[in-house]
Symmetry: C2
Subunit: 247 residues, 2 copies
């Protein structure tokens, strides 16, 4: 195989990142404002770009995320490949590509990745062709560049599937938390109301959380009990095959 | 965008199919024997090939599967993208590519798809560069071309995740079946023994199967009760959000 320039761009493959951020109230997603070019206004998009010819796709996803938003050390999982032959053919996207890309007519297939983070721990800083980078409420997303709205939808579906089959999200929690905070995390991701008493009962039955001998202080309502995550039970659950049928 | 030849090949993207077949005894996977070329013996591989420039990836996967094995009308789901820059660099794979491909040095990223079928309903017929096509026991798989062994492993993981979170597999069953057959399906996919009484209890509790007023005849052991799948309850379960926490 001929040797290639380490940073030679692969004109046909890109990586896009769907980073969900949770602040214990609402679910957001990290978007960039794509730079304006002649006659094309700026537009919101997922952080994403072409991969290098000699680069692993996973590595490319992390690199691109860092280049556009400054975020790093985020565990990314694949959503999948998006390859509709018309995915880059909206008029404004075409004009933008012609202004910025060497091979604007190339068909590009993108590999999308996703993650869920506590957004308090990450402050995005826009650079490269990103004019700004912000945490946008998932519910407020309007039109996005390319097929990015479809990609966000698919990533959200993966996140929902994951949270109902694995006790994810605990790594996002502070060391001590109330069951209301956990309840809100689940509601935000699933996008529906969950009965509070039922939720409480199920969570305690799974033994993934245990109550601390400590309550909230200085709150304007009846103080809630604090809980902590039980990592040992979590690992046991994962090892033993955490499943619906409970085989 | 310039118009392209409808069947112009995209030299950088391929689609590979992992078709699992179940015969109510063991889990198999559909493999082709890749044609031999000068100095390179034939080798087992997944059915897969380059996509066309103007083709959707999903469509390409179905087309490629049909071209190499004759199998069609199979519902395919994505496993994901596989893009290690060295995935085509094993010596025999390189020699084979040089003999058959126009652009053998191109880095190819593959999008893998999978499905689970009742193999009694499908008779593979090899064509194109496939010398033969066979249902191989998953446990018997040795070396495969490219990174195909890794892809099979990833697809199997998806299948396992799916069967423990969704009641799949029922579409594979005959109209009436015994709980032993269903038990064997789950054991084969999960690759581990499942307690028979426990399995029986859980399955009946989910109300996905209901007993028929009919037993096996002419069997050398105590005849088993026949069951049928309850599609109505299945659909209810799916609609209501089938999940571990049972929210």
């Amino acid at each position: 195989m001929q040797s290639k320039n380490k940073h030679e761009v692969n004109p046909r493959i890109s990586a896009d990142c769907v980073i969900f951020g949770f602040d214990f109230n609402q679910l957001r997603v990290l978007l960039i404002e794509r730079s304006a070019v002649e006659n094309v206004p700026s537009m919101m998009a997922l952080p994403g770009d072409l991969i290098y010819e000699e680069e692993n796709i996973d590595t490319a996803a992390s690199r691109v995320l860092k280049e556009l938003t400054g975020l790093e050390e985020i565990y990314l999982e694949q959503v999948g490949a998006f390859g509709d032959p018309d995915r880059l053919n909206k008029k404004n996207d075409q004009l933008w590509l012609k202004a910025v890309r060497q091979d604007p007519d190339a068909r590009v297939i993108t590999i999308a990745y996703y993650s869920l983070v506590n957004l308090d721990n990450y402050s995005p800083q826009a650079s490269s062709f990103a004019k700004s980078a912000t945490w946008m409420l998932v519910d407020d997303i309007q039109e996005l560049a390319f097929d990015h709205a479809e990609i966000v939808k698919a990533a959200l579906k993966k996140l929902k599937d994951k949270i109902i089959t694995q006790p994810i999200g605990f790594n996002l929690l502070p060391e001590k938390f109330t069951l209301s905070q956990l309840h809100r995390l689940y509601e935000s991701i699933l996008g529906r109301d969950l009965d509070k008493r039922n939720f409480r009962r199920k969570m305690l039955k799974l033994k993934l959380v245990e109550s601390l001998d400590e309550k909230q202080e200085g709150v304007p309502h009846k103080p809630s009990q604090y809980f902590k995550f039980n990592e040992e039970n979590y690992n046991k659950l994962i090892e033993n095959g955490y499943d619906n049928f409970g085989f």
